[in-house]
């Protein structure tokens, strides 16, 4: 079907822009186009949420997580034993 309007953003392009959108580096016009697309595309909204959740989860991975107390204790015990008590 012929289109009478300038081409709208299609999902494949929207998906490519997600990272730039989340990094807040899209120029205003592209940002607006992207958000307009989201209003009409539940699938891309879900994708955006997934990427956002993935970034948040990745950030969690980067945080130092000390081992549980019992593991620390066991390692210390093993170390002391190896040094003859």
């Amino acid at each position: 079907m012929s289109r009478a309007l300038p081409a709208d953003l299609v999902c494949i392009v929207a998906v490519e822009r997600v990272t730039e959108y989340l990094d807040d580096v899209l120029p205003l016009r592209e940002r607006t186009e992207f958000e307009e697309h989201l209003v009409t595309c539940p699938g891309c909204v879900i994708y955006l949420r997934q990427v956002r959740a993935q970034i948040a989860a990745s950030a969690e991975l980067g945080r130092p997580r000390p081992p549980p107390e019992e593991v620390t204790q066991k390692l210390l015990d093993m170390f002391r034993a190896s040094r003859g008590g």
Partner: protein, 200 residues
């Protein structure tokens, strides 16, 4: 100035996820723009509303420099003033109006093309699913623009998408002018249904 803003359920900004403070006894707290230029608080004048439909419609007060860009206002800061409570319960009325306008446009185009039989078929009252099937079968016989009726009906649970499809249908039949007219009619629906005036 006062303007309007659609938010996701719970007064959440639909894209950034920012939580807008609810109005208490007076007005809600201010949401400030981020530091980057043109990254202000977004809101709508009446004609912008159909492009940004979501689950909650609010009256917002804007302050600071307010600029008009493509299909939205950008302000230094904004706060929620009052919710338009009748939205989204009136959603089905809105999508119903989109479907009806699309059907009317398509019927007119069929009549103009001399396809009186198809026009009569599409004009006959029936339930939405039957109407969708009728539209699809007519579209398969040649006038593909009739398929837009099926598209608009299928998207009726999603008012933003339904409105978008109705505008695309209008564009397919009446070019850019048709598109703009349909979007203006959608905005007029909000204005009439919720007694919205010009921002002040």
């Amino acid at each position: 100035m006062l303007a309007w803003k659609f938010l996701a359920p719970g007064a959440l900004a639909p894209f950034t996820g920012i939580s807008w403070p609810l109005p208490g006894e007076g007005h809600g707290g201010w949401v400030e723009a981020r530091s980057k230029p043109a990254r202000g608080v977004h809101a709508c004048v009446l004609e912008d509303l159909p492009y940004w439909i979501d689950q909650e419609l609010w009256v917002v007060e804007l302050e600071g420099e307010v600029t008009r860009t493509r299909r939205q206002l950008i302000a230094g800061r904004g706060r929620l003033v009052a919710r338009v409570d009748e939205w989204p319960s009136a959603q089905a009325e809105f999508t119903g109006a989109c479907i009806e306008r699309t059907r009317r446009r398509v019927v007119d185009a069929l009549l103009a093309a001399g396809r009186d039989g198809d026009a009569a078929l599409l004009s006959a009252p029936r339930d939405p699913e039957a109407e969708r099937q009728t539209a699809l079968s007519i579209a398969e016989s040649g006038p593909t623009y009739v398929g837009y009726v099926a598209d608009v009906i299928r998207r009726r649970p999603y008012p933003g998408t339904c409105a978008y499809m109705a505008a695309n249908a209008a564009a397919a039949i009446g070019n850019v002018r048709g598109h703009d007219q349909e979007r203006a009619e959608q905005a007029a629906w909000f204005s009439a249904r919720f007694r919205l005036g010009r921002p002040r």
